[in-house]
Structure formats: C-alpha cells, structure tokens
C-alpha cells in the first residue's frame, strides 16, 4: 500500500450522545468557553487545560459519568482557575517510585506567554486553585518539577534576559503551607548567549535533561546535568532539540526474554526545525541513551533514524507504557478489533501533512523506536512515462530507465515521482545571480558542486539583450565556482545571472519530487543513489558530528559523512525494516539507450510507491471543521470498577477545545468523526 491520503470514514452514529445532523459528530461536554487551548497536563484523574485567552485553567474530571469539566462552587458553572496572563505551557510534578512508575505530585504549574511569572496551582481535587506565584527575574522559557513522597516539590525553571539563560530551582512546601511560604529560587547554572528551552526531570532524583538554543537560533546543546555536582554529559542528538522527555519503567518481552527497561533509560528529543531551515537533518523525533548520550538503537539494531511524521511540525508528543491502540497489524481471528498494547506506545500530533484536512495523530513504537508500519508492501514502480517539455506524454516509451531494473532500499524511498530530465537544469543552479565582474568564473557560493556539475555542462547567461543565446561550456569546476574558457559573447554583457544545464556524458538529471536532486545518469548506465543511512553524531566513526553519515563512515573523515550528493540527506532511510542493511542503496536502476528523438527538457517520469504507511489517524474536518490543528497530547489510563479505560486527550487550539479519543475504538489510517468527545 502506498502512502495515500486518509480516507474519510464516517461511522453511522450508534451511540445516543451525538449531537448535530451529520453522520459524524462530536459528543460535547458542558460548555466552558475554552479559549486558547495550548497545553494539557494530567494529574490523577484530572486533565488540566489552558484557556490562555481568559488567563485561566479548566479541569476535566475523567471519573464522572459522563466525563465533564470540574464544577465551580456554583455547580451551574465549570470551575475556572485564574492564573498568569496567557498561560501557554503547563508542567506537573513528576516522581518515580521504587518501581520506576510515575507518580503525581501536588502541583500543576503554568507559565505565561512572554511572562516572568509562574502560577503554582494545587492539583488535588480539594485544591484546584492558584496557591502562589513564583516571580522570576526575567522571561520564563521552560519549566519542570519533581515531586516528593512527603507532598513537597522542587520546581525547575529557566529564564532568558535577552543575552543569558539561567536555570533555577526553588523548593516548594506542601500545599497547606505554600500560600504563606517565602519562596527563594536559587541558580543552578547560567550560560551566556544560550537559552534553555526544555527541561526534563530524570528519574535518578538528581539529574535534569536540558536543551538549549544559541547562535541566533542556529545551534544549541542537549545535555544531562547533575544538579548536585553540575557534571554534564552531552547528549548526541543530531541537531538542536526543542523538547525533551523521558519515560517511566516498562516491561517487554524480546526474543522470548522478559526484560525491564528502567525509567529514564532513553531520552527523547524533538529536533528544532528552525535551526536548519526545516531541512531533514533537523526534523523529527529521536532518542538517545541516558547512560552514554549516544543515539539509541532501534529494533533493527541500527542507530535510530529520526521519526518524521509527515511534512508538518511535531506539535505534541507523549509516551505510555502498555498503551493500547487499534493496530491493523494485529487484526487476527482472535483479535478482530486489532486492539494492541505496545510495550511503550508513542503518540505524536502534527500541524499538517500536505493536505487540507489538517494535522494528524501518529502512533509509534516507542520501545522499538520505529514508526508502526501498517503496510507489508515494499517500494515499487507504479508507472513510467516519457513526456515532452510541455508535459505531453510520448508514446511509445522509448529506451528510458528499464522499469524492471529498479531496486530500492525499503524504508528509504517515499512515494513520489522520479523525474529524469534530458539536459535538465541542475538543481540549485537556476538563475544564479552573477555580474560581468566575475569574468569567466560563475560563482555559486553555498552550493555543493561535487558530482552535481561536470566538465562539459552548459552555462546559459541571463542578460538584458535578448540576443544573448549562446551557451558556454563548463571547462573546470572549482569548490564554489564554475569556469569556462569560452569567449563570452558581447550580447551577454551586463549579465544578471546564469543557469546550468546537464550535458556531456551524463545529460540526464535525476530528481525526486520529494527528495530533490539525486544525481546524474547517461545512456546505458547503471544509476545508484547510496542513501545516507543513519545518524552517527559524535560516534567513533564520525567524531566531529553531528552529521548524517553514510555507513560505514570512513573513520575520522567527517567530510565523507556529508550527504552523497550534497542534497539535504535525500532518500536517507526514514524507516528501518527488520531486514535493514545499511549498504543497500536507496535507488538503483539501469538506463536504456535513450530516445533518439529526445529533446531538451523531455523527461522520463517514474512514479514510485513507498509501500509505507505509518499508523495514524486524522479528524474528519468535513464534519468537524474546526478540529484541524492538534497540539498538546496526554494519555490517561482510567482505572474503573469494570477495568481499565484508555483515553487520549488532544488540545486543538484551532477549535478552542480538547478532543477525547478512545484509542481502542479509533479507525486507524482514516479520518475519524465518531466516538469522539469534545470539550470546549
């Protein structure tokens, strides 16, 4: 199955709590007029949600029948908890018990947008009010908290004064004593030019995982800090991270052996897309080992690749031991519903994925560090064609890439069109700015020319005079410039730029509609694109990482770790199958003798299907039009008299609401519109 658009599945309403006239609808709780639903936190059986535009929190009681907002003292109204202005981020106390299980603490914390204040809210059902505020010296940029068994807590927060980031700690007494307590934050560490953007409390009781941003947003560090000794261990994430989190202890059976993975074994990081222009090397979710800082290995045994969830941004993430979801992979006669409990289930929300239905919710194997692939197919050629420069199909198809010769690395090829263009424009070399002052040299700063341009390629000069039509031949290729010894015609004076087209022995340019430039090929040649296979940041083979390295990376040769074609890690493996072999190229094919009638700009078009379908759901916005941008997500296991109920709550700032999913009743790989509960 190729990676298709989600198909709308609107189940006929069977339950009696559906409102609206359509086939799909949302069961709505009583209205609380939420506004600005940017973050969620679960404490006990209560779900706290920001209502940023009214400067308050609201609380959903998951134990009620039906589940509903906690009521105010006047039960006609939902309870509102006034907090700092514009609360956009919540944190809760986390404590790990002797078994490594997460235990709640007494407080929920709220930081406001661009604010130096933190609200401390009593999270017990008998409290549910702001007990005090921590006033910081400058803008609060991140927060986390560690609860203690005796009902006290330690709040960690970071500030940014414009030039310096500082990490603070403040001890909080029990809820009874807090309103009258004098709170005195103390500095843990401070760093010039570096803002702390994420804090995760580690289960060992004294370490914090920290992510920073520096260099005007182009760099940053991830590290494990012992708050007592201030010892630091760098975490080898391949790019700066914008969010860190870890996991509680969980159990698994692997290879027939029961295993326990201790809490905090792995630290997950959401890479910061803004640090590299949103390119692939700074996108996705990846884990490192807390003990070594090295990138964790996934179920294939290879270093994990960043899990990329469509083309939007990750907007929320959580993990849950024994998390249950409907998984088509597990449908059997004995399990027709396909409900399946992962050792550690991951849930990610995204801002969008190349369609107008909005963001999606992905489920991944957070133990195996893999997406949950629900399609057994492998990459394949779906169709081939030959088109002229206007896009008109030519029949018959003549001597292009042999469709039967294609071989793929499973997990390295996305569904896309492979465009093989005769005398095509070299990507990155279209209408490059240039002036007469450059003479015979044509400067291309910032473009990796290695393998992309060869001697014999054609240079087309852009000049005001329409008579400038003569093409020049590339006679040498330098690091950042192309050179021609051809005389530049007088008509090409006052040039403004130039374009380079393939010519010579390899006149065909190979591009993927998703992956971009992949290489060059000539007639009767075998084309190979050796995918960059794994992140090996700071590993022995790529010591000066981070980099996206071909495997094996020549020891000590960081330059060799650069992408094979200097193209933002095109066709790198994004999924490791059980049979993953790093040496298998992403794409191979044999090119034929070529069409004798071919002309400049004609293309061979090879449509590829990835055979890849991660487990995900969307919301059917044709029925539920405002629920298109999911954000923060929490997973809650509600213990009931008749068993355990798994619930997923997702904040939707687009709908000013929270949507409740029962992961055991969702329709996977589809747009869902029923069995949902909305809180607005």
């Amino acid at each position: 199955m190729k990676r298709t658009r989600l198909l709308a599945v609107a189940l006929l309403a069977g339950a009696g709590l559906l409102f609206g006239s359509g086939c799909g609808s949302v069961t709505t709780a009583s209205a609380a007029q939420l506004s600005g639903t940017y973050d969620l936190a679960v404490v006990g059986d209560l779900v706290f949600v920001t209502s940023a535009y009214s400067n308050e929190l609201r609380v959903i009681d998951t134990t009620g029948t039906p589940r509903d907002f906690v009521r105010a003292p006047n039960p006609l109204e939902p309870l509102a908890i006034p907090v700092v202005d514009q609360p956009v981020e919540l944190a809760r106390d986390v404590r790990y018990d002797g078994e490594g299980a997460e235990q709640d603490g007494p407080y929920v914390y709220a930081r406001g947008l661009g604010s130096a204040e933190i609200s401390v809210v009593g999270a017990a059902p008998s409290q549910l009010k702001e007990l005090t505020r921590v006033v910081a010296s400058s803008t609060v940029t991140a927060l986390a908290a560690r609860g203690a068994e005796d009902g006290t807590s330690t709040l960690y927060f970071a500030t940014w004064d414009g030039t310096r980031g500082t990490l603070w700690r403040v001890s909080l007494p029990s809820a009874e004593a807090l309103p009258t307590a004098t709170l005195t934050p103390t500095v843990i560490v401070s760093s010039d030019g570096e803002a702390y953007r994420s804090i995760a409390v580690m289960p060992d009781g004294h370490s914090l995982a920290l992510a920073t941003r520096s260099g005007s947003g182009t760099s940053g560090r991830s590290l494990l800090l012992d708050q007592d000794t201030l010892a630091i261990q760098e975490l080898a994430f391949p790019a700066p991270v914008r969010r860190l989190f870890t996991h509680p202890t969980y159990h698994r059976t692997k290879g027939g052996v029961d295993q326990t993975l201790p809490a905090g074994k792995r630290i997950f990081g959401v890479l910061d897309e803004s640090t590299c222009g949103g390119q692939r090397r700074c996108r996705g979710l990846i884990a490192v080992e807390s003990s070594t800082g090295e990138i964790s290995r996934d179920d294939s045994g290879a270093p994990m690749v960043p899990l990329v969830f469509g083309r939007g941004l990750i907007n929320g993430v959580t993990v849950q031991p024994q998390g249950t979801v409907v998984d088509p992979n597990t449908v059997t006669t004995d399990n027709p519903s396909g409900r399946f409990s992962f050792w550690l289930l991951g849930v990610v929300t995204t801002t969008g994925d190349s369609n107008v239905t909005g963001g999606e919710i992905y489920f991944f194997n957070a133990d195996g560090l893999q997406q949950e692939e629900t399609n057994s197919a492998t990459p394949a050629v779906a169709s081939t064609s030959e088109v002229d420069a206007s896009g008109t199909a030519q029949t018959p198809y003549v001597n292009g890439p042999d469709p039967d010769s294609f071989q793929f690395g499973d997990g390295a090829v996305e569904t896309q069109s492979l465009l093989i263009t005769y005398q095509g424009i070299i990507p990155g070399l279209l209408e490059v700015a240039s002036t007469d002052a450059d003479g015979q040299r044509f400067l291309v700063p910032g473009v990796d020319l290695h393998g992309r341009v060869t001697v014999g390629d054609s240079i087309q000069i852009l000049a005001p005079d329409a008579g400038c039509t003569t093409e020049l031949t590339v006679t040498s290729v330098e690091t950042d410039a192309l050179v021609t010894t051809d005389a530049i015609p007088a008509a090409c004076a006052n040039r403004t730029g130039f374009t380079v087209r393939a010519a010579g022995a390899e006149p065909y340019v190979v591009e993927g509609s998703v992956d971009g430039y992949l290489g060059r090929v000539g007639v009767n040649e075998h084309f190979t694109y050796p995918a960059p296979a794994s992140f090996s940041a700071s590993s022995p083979s790529c010591p000066s990482g981070p980099a996206y390295c071909p495997v094996p990376c020549p020891p000590g040769q960081q330059a060799a770790c650069a992408p094979a074609h200097g193209n933002d890690y095109s066709a790198a493996y994004f999924f490791h199958t059980d049979a993953f072999l790093a040496e298998v190229p992403a794409i191979q094919f044999t090119f034929g003798a070529g069409d004798p009638a071919i002309q400049r700009g004609w293309q061979y078009v090879v449509n590829l299907s990835s055979g890849y379908q991660p487990l995900l759901i969307g919301v059917d916005t044709s029925y539920l039009p405002a629920w298109y941008l999911p954000g923060s997500v929490v997973y809650h296991k509600l213990q009931k008299d008749d068993g355990e109920l798994n619930l997923i709550y997702v904040a939707y700032p687009s709908a000013q609401g929270v949507l409740e999913f029962n992961p055991a009743t969702i329709v996977p790989n589809s747009l869902n519109s029923t069995n949902l509960v909305g809180y607005q």
Binding site: G112, D161, G277, R311, S654
Partner: protein, 454 residues
C-alpha cells in the same frame, strides 16, 4: 465641500437658515487611528509621527492624516520624554494635546489601512495611505516635517484635501464609475521594496462583469513610489482569494491571504509569492503544513532568509525559512509556530546585528503587544498597559534602543513603548499615550466621546 476645521468650528449655521451638514474631522485628536509612520527631521529630538485616522463609524465626512511633532505635543512640563528616559513613578504620561500645526493635517478617505513611507530625493517623505471606503482611494501625501502636501492636485476647496483627486485602486478606466477588473477594491496593506516599488493589497476580490459577483479575482497594485500612477498595467492578478499584507524582497513580493475556502492544496492563499519579473504566482502551500485559516501581518528579515507571518485560528506567529529567493524556485518552509494572544494584526522587525531580529506584534483582540526574540525562538515579553485594539506600528530606531508607536484603534490613542536595550527586549515598557482617550469608540455607553460629536 470638504473642509478641515477644528471642532470649535463644527456645527455652525451657514446663513440664510440653511444648516451646514458638513462634518469635518477633528484635528486635535485621532479617531480610530490606524496606519502610522515615523520620521526624524534634522534638529528634532523626538521626531514626527504621522497618524492616519480611519473614522470607522463615519462620524465625520473623512479621515485625517495628522503630522504630530513629538517635540511639541502636550504642554510645558508634560511633554513626551526622550527615548530611553525612565518611566515616572506616576506611570506613563498621557498627552492629550497633539498641537498639530497649520499645514499638518490632511484629509484622507475613511477606513484607512496601513501606511508606508518612501524617502524622496528632496528629503521629503512620501506617505501612502490606502482607504477601504468609497472610491477605494490610495492617498499620497508628501511630508516635510509637519508640513503636508498632497502629491497631486488637491480638492478645490481645501489645499489639504488629498481625497478628491487621489488615485483609486478600483477605478475601471474603460467603465468609469464601475469596478469590474482589473481592480483592487478595499485596499488595505502596503509593502515597499528597497528599490522603491510599492505593492498595495486588497481585502476584497473584484468581479467580472462588474456587479455580477461572478468570476471573482483578487488583485494587488504595484506602482513606483517616486512617480505613482495607477493604470490597468499596474494590477497584478492573484487568482482567488484577497490579500491582507505584503512584504517585498529582491525578486518576490510576499502576500498574506485573507480567508478563502480551499478545496484542494493548489489554491492555498495564506501565503502567495509573486515573481516581480514575470508576475507569476507561486503557492508555497503553507496551510497544509501548518493549518491556520488566514493570514494577517507579514515581515521579511533584512537578509530575506526568514519570513514572519501572522496566522489566525489558531492565532499564531509562523516562522518560515526562505531559500533560493532569487531563483525561479524559491523554497518556503514553516519551521516554528508560536502561540500568540488573540487577534494578531501587524508585525514589524527590529534588526540586531550579530543577533536574531526582534518581531514586534500587535494583538488587536487581546489588547497587547508582544515581542518575539529570534535568539530565544519564542515570545520574550508581552507588554502590559497598551491601549484598546492595538493595530498598526511604527518604529523609531536609535542605536541599541527603539521606540515603538502603536495605534490603539479602539480608544483613539497612540501608545508609545520604549525598548531601552534591544539586547533585552524584556525592558520594553509603555512610556506615554498620545491623544485623547476615547474608549467610546468601542463602548457605546462610554461618555469619553462627549464633545466629539460636531
């Protein structure tokens, strides 16, 4: 007859028992202030602020463009403090007396939008103000300090009537009085390129034939700021969906789009690029990747590497990375979405050499101004105490300091915010309010407008 008079002249009878029904706008106050521009003439300490009043409820016949000498506002002992001075213990100073000098007030059409300022070789500043009311006028006013002059023939009765002969963005030369196409009705936003080309957005589509509501098509207007004329050749067809704001780079003009229902990904209009050479439209497809339903303000970094786009529902600052912006295949990628207070309207950037820029953002519904710090990657400060419905911005840059002027559409004032240390945007604070508080603009029963009625 259009007339500019002080309020004391309003309401008089015009002899022979005939009542003068004219309602000239006041020049002693702002009235629904919208577009702003700032200049600092030689010898001035605080500079001159140009303020367009939108006259939204049409209480008056027209809007105004006022030139406010910031050295002369208020009274002795209660002037606008110079940039960087500490806020008095009594709080920000409220300065009601604008003391607009003779020649410092021009008539413009109602429903004024943004304002752009183009420096003329003569040293004067050419101000552009589009208005969305009847006539769809683009007023062009040359300012020398506080002295204003229509850039074209003024209306017969008043040398500062810059309405009557202002060019229209929705006049159809072939069918005078009709609209049809090309036309950019309801002009609103402005983007000025470094090479002096002005782009005017339009928040309403044009129909063809005129009045048919068929074949709706959005247009922008491009004109040369030094010699502004609008003919059919100045219109750029943008396809479906009207625009809100514009920013202009070397090769491309960037347009944020108002709401337009999309049925497929090919017509996402939250952001469009127009090739300034070929006028070809490019759709970066932002909405499918970060789903907001419409765009508002837009700002481009000085190196054209980053684009800041305000999105609505959810209200978000979208940080977009740009590459290959001088080629025919520019790349636009959303890399961050930052929640904003409700109703973001306009964004302007403050460069900081060696550091990431600051993005100053008005949030109309929330009544606040926030500053995004690229070094932090987040909102660094939300500035309290801004007036009602902050809308447009003008920024005075002085070394490592800046003064931010904010038009408070809903209370008739301009809020003055100082940032005494641009490396520490958290130091931003309100230092003054200019103009008479008129919260009646948004509250019917509020008495603060008493005396305004002519």
């Amino acid at each position: 007859m259009r007339a500019l008079t002080l309020l004391v002249a309003a309401g008089i009878l015009a002899g022979c028992g005939q009542q003068d029904l004219s309602r000239p706008p006041p020049t002693d106050r702002f009235y629904f202030p919208s577009g702003l521009a700032f200049s600092k003439p030689a010898g001035s300490t605080n500079g001159v602020l140009y303020v367009a009043s939108a006259n939204l409820d049409k209480r008056y016949d027209d809007g105004t463009l006022l030139a406010v000498d910031l050295d002369q506002v208020g009274a002795d002992g209660a002037r606008l403090p110079p940039l960087g001075q500490p806020v008095p213990a009594t709080g920000p100073v409220s300065i009601e007396a604008l003391n607009v000098p003779s020649g410092g007030a021009a008539l413009i059409s109602s429903f004024a939008g943004e304002m752009a300022a183009y420096p003329l070789p003569s040293g004067a500043l050419r101000l552009f103000v589009p208005s969305r009311s009847e006539g769809n006028k683009l007023q062009i006013v040359d300012a020398t300090g506080t002295q204003l002059d229509c850039a074209y023939e003024s209306g017969g009765g008043d040398p500062l009537d810059c309405v009557t002969h202002a060019p229209s963005t929705a006049a159809n030369a072939a069918n005078p009085g009709d609209v049809g196409v090309p036309a950019a009705p309801a002009p609103f936003g402005l983007g000025l390129s470094g090479d002096g080309q002005l782009f005017v957005t339009s928040i309403q589509s044009a129909d063809s034939p005129a009045g048919s509501f068929q074949n709706m098509q959005a247009f922008a207007v491009e004109l040369n700021a030094a010699s502004p004329e609008i003919t059919d050749d100045n219109f750029i067809s943008l396809g479906y969906g009207p625009t809100n704001s514009a920013a202009v780079g070397q090769r491309y003009a960037y347009f944020s789009g108002r709401y337009f229902a999309v049925a497929n990904t090919s017509s996402d209009v939250v952001l469009r690029l127009v090739d300034r050479r070929s006028k070809a439209i490019l759709y970066p497809q932002i909405e499918p990747l970060f789903h907001v339903i419409e765009g508002r303000g837009l700002a481009l970094s000085a190196d054209e590497q980053r684009l800041y786009l305000l999105g609505l529902s959810p209200d978000t600052l979208l940080r977009l990375d740009l590459s290959a912006v001088t080629s025919s295949a520019p790349q636009v990628r959303p890399v961050r979405g930052i929640p904003l207070p409700s109703g973001p309207m306009q964004v302007q950037l403050i460069d900081r050499p060696g550091h990431g820029e600051l993005a100053v953002i008005t949030c109309l519904s929330a009544g606040t101004v926030v500053i995004y710090d690229e070094d932090l990657g987040d909102i660094a400060v939300a500035i309290p105490g801004v007036g009602v419905q902050p809308t447009n911005l003008a920024i005075q840059r002085e070394g490592n300091q800046a003064r931010i002027f904010v038009s408070d559409f809903g209370d008739g004032r301009v809020t003055v915010i100082d940032v005494p240390d641009l490396m520490r945007p958290q130091t931003a604070r309100v230092v003054a309010y200019l103009g008479k508080l008129q919260t009646c603009l948004v509250r019917d029963t509020d008495p603060s407008c008493q005396g305004v009625t002519p």
